[in-house]
């Protein structure tokens, strides 16, 4: 009961962020340079048609009224229509979201799979080679722009060595059949369709973009993992465990590591912020058909409804991910769990 209650309060804390996000995206759209009505009326507009568009868009109404209108359209899932695709923005975004999510999750997986063991190994062997390697990777990793890493990897592994597939999207559909959409994640859908060749191919397509994106997230994860593991290992409760004669494995993995996971999970919120942003750059390099590439195109072509929809969707996704991080922390830490 207590747990359910604290879960509910945690979810409730996301509401102000959500409202703030909606207000900001609304204001961003109103801050467009020039007169939006002129812009939407097109190049061959007459003063009458501009006035008409203004009325149709509700731009002649007071700002608060426009906001109410915006909010109620949002509530109905109406993000406006994209100029370049002619489709509802929501439809475009939802169709492209799985591609971005698959990439982001694979990158996170990669970053965790390397960053965590690296940080832990460095903390348990301070001053040894692995500790120095960790420090170098952390400081070098934080200095490399994602897009540069991505291009470098493409150059080496595709152009020079020829072991990576052409960096053009999720699956080369001249050789492979795109699986019927179930989850939207090709790695899962290809297996569901029983098409192992397509699975291998989409996995191969994912490798380089995931590494490029993941390297950026690896640095903060390894840094925090090392620092919190060091703190944990020198903590009073690990000293107690040693005094009680517990085995080193038990102390390192059963006591220190579980406590050290708290800061690591907490930093994941920040890591998601990095990943969702850098995602845009990586999609650009690998012609990945996700919402990032869509947004870049929208920004360049001044497709404002699409940009607004993209920013809103990313923010909501980020709020949800942060909520998930909070719940994960609560799962590990009883102090948070019962703190109703």
């Amino acid at each position: 009961m207590k747990i359910v209650l604290s879960l509910a309060t945690r979810i409730a804390t996301a509401v102000p962020s959500l409202i703030g996000v909606i207000v900001v995206t609304f204001l961003l759209a109103r801050a467009l340079p020039g007169d939006a009505a002129v812009y939407y009326a097109g190049s061959s507009a007459t003063p009458e048609s501009i006035a008409q568009v203004r009325k149709a868009l509700g731009l002649d109404k007071p700002l608060w009224f426009q906001f109410g209108d915006y909010a109620s359209r949002l509530a109905h899932g109406d993000l406006g229509t994209s100029l370049s695709s002619g489709q509802p923005v929501l439809h475009d975004l939802v169709a492209r979201l799985p591609a971005s999510m698959e990439l982001t999750l694979c990158a996170l997986l990669f970053a965790m799979a390397i960053g965590l063991p690296l940080g832990i190994a460095a903390a348990t062997r301070p001053g040894k080679a692995i500790d120095h390697i960790c420090r170098v990777i952390v400081s070098v990793g934080a200095a490399f722009p994602t897009f540069f890493v991505a291009l470098g990897l493409v150059y080496v592994f595709y152009f020079r060595l020829g072991i990576a597939p052409e960096p053009l999207g999720r699956l080369n559909d001249t050789y492979f059949t795109v699986p019927p959409t179930v989850t939207g994640f090709y790695l899962i859908d290809t297996i569901l369709a029983g098409d192992l060749a397509a699975f291998d191919a989409s996995l191969a397509q994912l490798v380089l973009p995931s590494i490029s994106l993941g390297l950026f997230a690896l640095a903060p994860i390894a840094r925090i993992a090392r620092a919190s593991m060091l703190a944990s290992l020198s903590s009073d409760f690990c000293r107690t465990a040693r005094a009680m004669g517990l085995s080193r494995t038990r102390i390192v993995y059963g006591y220190a590591l579980r406590n050290a996971m708290l800061p690591v999970v907490n930093i994941l919120g920040m890591v998601f912020s990095f990943l969702l942003g850098a995602n845009v750059l990586v999609e650009q390099v690998f012609a990945w058909p996700g919402i990032g590439a869509y947004a870049v195109n929208a920004v360049i072509t001044s497709d404002y409804a699409a940009v607004q929809g993209f920013v809103l969707m990313m923010a909501i996704l980020y709020i949800l991910l942060n909520l998930a991080v909070d719940l994960a922390v609560a799962a590990i830490d009883p102090r948070v769990r019962y703190d109703g």
Binding site: R239, A243, G245, L246, Y255
Partner: protein, 320 residues
Amino acid sequence: MSVPLLQVDGLSVNFRTRSGTVKVLDDVSFSIDKGEILGIVGESGSGKSVLSYALMGLLDDNAQIKADTITFGGIDLNGPASALSAIRGRELSMIFQSPRTALNPIMKVGKQIEDVLRRHGPVSRSNAKAAAIAALARVRIPDPERRYEAYPFELSGGMCQRVMIAMALSCSPSLLIADEPTTGLDVTTQAVVMDLIRDLVRESRMSSILITHDLALAAEYCDRIAVMHAGHMVEIASARTLRSHFAHPYTRGLFAATPTADTELNDLASIPGNLPDLRLDLPPCRFLHRCDRRQADCETAPVPLQAIGTDHSVRCRYPL
């Protein structure tokens, strides 16, 4: 004379740090008999914790430990760490100050006791749980079945210290080291915890080292008392002898600074000066610069710990 349970001779501990070598312990020798409670008293920074950590093998990697002999229950502990790790937690156990942080914050206290039990003996899951609850009951925790499920943050400081004691005693060690076990507890809880430790030690015929900076507390609960100053053991005597015939100027200072029933609070004298900087070259007597009885040869001539009575030794050329 029977063989003592723990015999320590010529123990020194140095720490290598960035700002030089810190000579924290120098030529520390003492012994404990079976069933005896030894108090170690000294002001903050005198090396009491370092001494107990050295015995337990809990010092940081930058510590250099040297000793002539350390034997415990017939086992030579002066050498490779494997001998120690075989008995730690089972024969030799320890409780710490600030019990709240000494327990794993995200693990149920019952599980933490179980971990120790399972480490030191083949115990099945259900037996371990029963044994952990029994250990909690033994330290007089009310409703142990419910407390088994508690996390440290749900318990009071005194309750956490009892859990610590339960954990340390769960495998019936023959020596329990208690490093300032009542620091941070309120006065009534302090007495309860101290009584508990004494009763349990007596009950199971264990020995114990009780570390404190409170001479009155040591005098009340211990059979013998060792006084430490700046890494030297300056005086060892039975509690009774020490109270009436203290011989070291530092011990006199400590008594003068300890409130008793018939001193007024403003009669209390504090010991002048501070502990010397342990990174510097130190004179044979580390109390020298705070001492009003020093003579010229205190600066140069060695000062060994010497017996001045039955079961009474002092490290001073000019004892009281």
